[in-house]
Symmetry: C2
Subunit: 197 residues, 2 copies
DNA sequence: GTCTATATCTCGATAGAC
DNA sequence: GTCTATCGAGATATAGAC
């Protein structure tokens, strides 16, 4: 099955990029991890490492964007959903031995000044996540600007907390960052209701 | 002058690490950037790339820690100092074409799961920054736990904002993150004064 | 589509002249 | 202390059999 091989290559690339970064991950390692030979990588991605990396970044963007409904659809309100999302991320981090955090964070910092194509891919993914979150905050009654700022704060805090938590091996950093974002969300909601009243 | 050569090597490593990361930066590139031959790197750092990288990380920790008094000593209060620090970072980011952000961020994400020695070095640097900032917030009257949490939020937001700002080429993200942290600092100060009264 | 072999390059590291 | 030459390993990429 060719489609399955292509997906397995992307999945392997995603797993290795999040732990070793872009430059630290060779195509041979991705081939070994996916079980496919090197030739298959160039068959599915004629553009080589850049084309594969672009596909990995965008796939990770879709996959993690799909997690947002999981936390927001079931929660009683967006404040609790925000808190739960950070708690879930902290739990995943702990369970994986501080390896599984953001799939594109290391790559984003590596390519920001060295690879314009991939930089744009990471920018699009961050923008996608912010848009999805902003929709949720707007649906809770906040105006567009406040919703966007909180969505940006969500991603900023998650990424920054992932960095410190992985370095210091302390997942509570992610939980504390979640408290701060949730507090800002709550404060914005209260401020909006006060203004409306 | 041998000491000057050693420092030039560290300075070159710092400049390249922040733009290309750890795995993306070769010792030959550091040698070329510093003007020293490869042999000199192994003369001053017999431990090779790891020993040099450790020195680069710790030097960056000291250098950026030394920036904190610059913002906090002259400011009217810690809230304004916090805001100014983020504004200054945003300005540096813009002026450097979105290249000069945190000197150890990319390295930290790369080594967190791949190099225990360097992971500990980055953890120590983050901890050092948090400690220095917590001292400032504590000196403004906050209790130790609140001061520490705000200091952590400072570094978390700065690192996360750097990541998104570099990817999307928008330094306002750093400024907005500064507003959020400064707001949390202000709220904590007000809350403390209310409790004390 | 799958897989191997290989060309070319650059890596970290070392040896040794000066 | 400075500098060059070089080693073996691993990188990306390609050619071509099956």
């Amino acid at each position: 099955m060719s489609a399955a091989t292509r997906e397995r290559i992307i999945e392997a690339g995603s797993a290795l990029f999040r732990r070793q970064g872009y430059a630290g991950t060779g195509l041979k390692a991705i081939a070994a991890e996916s079980g496919a030979p090197i030739g298959s990588i160039y068959h599915f991605f004629p553009g080589g490492k850049d084309a594969l990396s672009d596909a990995v970044i965008r796939a990770a963007g879709r996959a993690y964007g799909a997690l947002i409904p999981l936390f927001f659809d079931g929660a009683p309100d967006v404040t609790q959903a925000t808190r739960n999302a950070f708690s879930g991320a902290a739990q995943t981090l702990r369970a994986s031995g501080y390896a599984d955090a953001c799939p594109i964070a290391a790559v984003a910092l590596e390519v920001a000044s060295t690879n314009e194509t991939l930089r744009e891919a990471t920018a699009a993914v961050f923008g996608h996540w912010v848009d999805l979150l902003a929709e949720r905050y707007a649906a809770a009654g906040l105006d567009a600007e406040a919703a966007h700022d909180l969505a940006m704060a969500f991603v900023v805090n998650l990424e920054g907390a992932f960095m410190l938590a992985r370095a210091q091996r302390d997942a509570r950093i992610v939980e504390r960052a979640g408290e701060m974002v949730a507090g800002a969300v709550q404060a914005a909601l209260v401020s909006f209701q006060t203004r409306a009243a």
